[in-house]
């Protein structure tokens, strides 16, 4: 029982046994055979690019871009352009650089606004989606929902879910208690003013 110079965190090396047990053991032991060593190197047979700088794609709309880019990149995606209130919020988010929390938090907020807007838009101007079917809940009985969760030592079932329930119950009780306190205080005040009158 002593800390010595010996490497004791692995079993004693037995190359033959490892080669016999694991097909391909050590095939890439030589660093020269590992494709990404060193990390930066010129591609051995080119990248396929036949340009120094790519031709520029024509934007179909005013494309939002990060302030950390010098210019609009020559190629970009064109799906789902910003629209509605969420679009206005997204454009605002792009005024902040990527290093600012505001940029990402505003984008996440815009995502939620987008979901609400799309729901309302479909409700009034299109065919509203079936939320139950969109959530794919049929998998619960087609793919053995209960059996997949029970007796499997799953952390989400055995540990996280009970703790979440406890947290929600705790927060609800605290909120109810606070509401009761406020209501009682209001009643006291009302009684005080009534008595005074």
């Amino acid at each position: 029982m002593a800390y010595t110079a010996e490497k004791t965190n692995s079993p004693k090396l037995d190359r033959k046994a490892l080669e016999a047990r694991i097909q391909g053991w050590g095939a890439d032991l030589d660093l020269a055979l590992r494709p990404a060593v060193p990390k930066e190197k010129a591609p051995p047979s080119g990248t396929g690019a036949h340009w120094i700088f790519p031709e520029r794609q024509t934007p179909r709309y005013e494309r939002e871009r990060s302030t950390e880019h010098k210019f609009l990149t020559p190629v970009f995606g064109t799906v789902c352009p910003p629209r509605g209130l969420s679009g206005v919020i997204r454009k605002f988010a792009y005024k902040y650089s990527e290093g600012r929390m505001a940029h990402w938090l505003i984008l996440l907020f815009a995502d939620r606004v987008d979901v609400a807007e799309s729901f309302v838009r479909e409700l009034f101007f299109g065919r509203p989606g079936n939320v139950f079917s969109e959530m794919g809940l049929s998998a619960e009985w087609k793919r053995h929902g209960l059996r997949s969760r029970m007796g499997q030592h799953r952390s989400d079932v055995t540990s996280r879910f009970p703790k979440e329930l406890l947290l929600v119950a705790g927060l609800t009780l605290t909120a109810l208690q606070l509401a009761r306190l406020v209501r009682n205080r209001e009643k006291e005040r009302y009684r005080y003013f009534s008595d005074a009158a």
Binding site: S10, F53, S66, C80, S133, G136, A139, K142, S148
Partner: protein, 384 residues
């Protein structure tokens, strides 16, 4: 065409969308024959990735047949079967010219910190993905690779992301002969990372998860040891004990933002979103690896910040390496491994689902039902 579309957190559906068109001279339009759901698609599905817009089509792991090419495309022609790496890359910027294709600087106007990825929100460029009948493939002369004769299409599909990402995770761990390697996560990436660790000469490989069926699979597939972290009191201490209190040489985080195992991390990272996902796996990796060891990160996290023990990184003298996989540079060697029988990626596919059932496929994968490890979506014409 029919395509999977995002409707909001935990909601997706199949919709009719306009078929994509050539928008740049080096574009190609690919008819999708197979598209997989990746674990990182679940971060989008759960609404964790900023700038995920309603109507977007996910899917960055797909194979298909070239339908149409732009006027400047030289390496592909209609009818070619292709596998398409998940990275969109120009092939000519500072990063691509150093084979860092996942860091391309010319394809993502929305963020400079990350390159372009198919179907992965506007944070990675706003491109639709391959969980559809057709997809636009920019820089057709750089990204896609014709599927070599004799390579099974399912193997080709897994070469678009999962297999190279697992391999790169092991490679970034700088594994030396007889190293002890611990992989957090027994999903597809973790499975390939474990398998790749042996290729690089590891002496012992241990995979950690909380799903018994995945641990059983990886034990058989990658001949490694496994630990269900719910069955030990303290996984970090347990790893120290089984490595003679030295700690493993290399730890790999193949989990990312939605890790189980710490209520505080899950609450703050997933429910409250005050940090960029639950950093439980990287927390454990840093704390359990031996001093001067290597931590390799391929699990995906958000762009803000996470609660990780950075002081321990300094005090232990750790090397941390991380990146999205640079798929294109790994393909030739990985194809050699497959052809030599050293890797068999298609064995991890557990479910094939018609594209029409995309909603239930996502729910199944997200909730880990039916012993699901890898789900492949197949357009109905091909599924019949």
């Amino acid at each position: 065409m029919r395509a999977m579309t995002y409707r909001g957190p935990y909601r997706v559906r199949l919709e009719n969308k306009p078929t994509p068109e050539i928008e740049h001279p080096n574009d190609a339009i690919v008819r999708v024959t197979r598209a997989a759901i990746c674990g990182s698609d679940l971060h989008l599905y759960h609404g964790l990735v900023p700038d995920t817009r309603v109507g977007m089509t996910f899917g960055h792991e797909f194979t298909g047949v070239v339908e149409e090419v732009g006027p400047s495309v030289q390496n592909l022609k209609p009818g070619d079967p292709v596998l398409v790496p998940f990275n969109i890359s120009c092939g000519s910027c500072f990063f691509c010219s150093r084979e860092l294709y996942s860091n391309c600087h010319n394809v993502n106007p929305n963020a400079s910190a990350i390159g372009g990825i198919y179907g992965y929100s506007h944070t990675t460029g706003g491109y639709d993905g391959g969980q559809a009948e057709y997809v636009r493939v920019p820089f057709a002369d750089v990204g896609p690779m014709k599927i070599p004769q004799g390579l099974h299409e399912d193997d080709a599909l897994l070469l678009t992301d999962a297999c190279p990402t697992g391999y790169q995770a092991a490679e970034m761990g700088d594994i030396k002969e007889n190293d002890t390697v611990v992989v957090f996560g027994a999903g597809p990436i973790g499975i390939f990372a474990a398998k790749s660790a042996w290729l690089m000469g590891a002496g012992r490989v241990i995979v950690i998860d909380h799903l018994d069926y995945r641990l059983e699979f990886v034990r058989n597939y990658a001949q490694c040891e496994t630990i269900n972290f719910t069955q030990v009191d303290d996984i970090v201490l347990h790893l120290k004990k089984i490595t003679d209190y030295l700690g493993p040489d290399v730890c790999i985080d193949a989990v990312g933002a939605e890790a189980e195992g710490s209520f505080l991390q899950s609450l703050t990272g997933i429910k409250l979103k005050v940090q960029a996902g639950a950093a439980t796996a990287v927390y454990w990796a840093i704390n359990s690896v031996r001093k001067a060891g290597n931590v390799s990160l391929v699990g995906v996290y958000g762009p803000t910040f996470n609660m990780v023990p950075i002081g321990n990184v300094l005090n232990k003298g750790l090397t941390i390496r991380a990146n999205q996989a640079s798929v294109k540079r790994h393909l030739p060697r990985l194809i050699e491994h497959i052809q030599a029988g050293r890797l068999n990626p298609k064995e991890i596919i557990t479910h094939r689902v018609p594209l029409e059932e995309v909603s239930s496929a996502y729910h199944m994968f997200s909730s880990k039902l039916d012993n699901c490890i890898k789900t492949v979506l197949v357009p109905s014409k091909l599924a019949a």
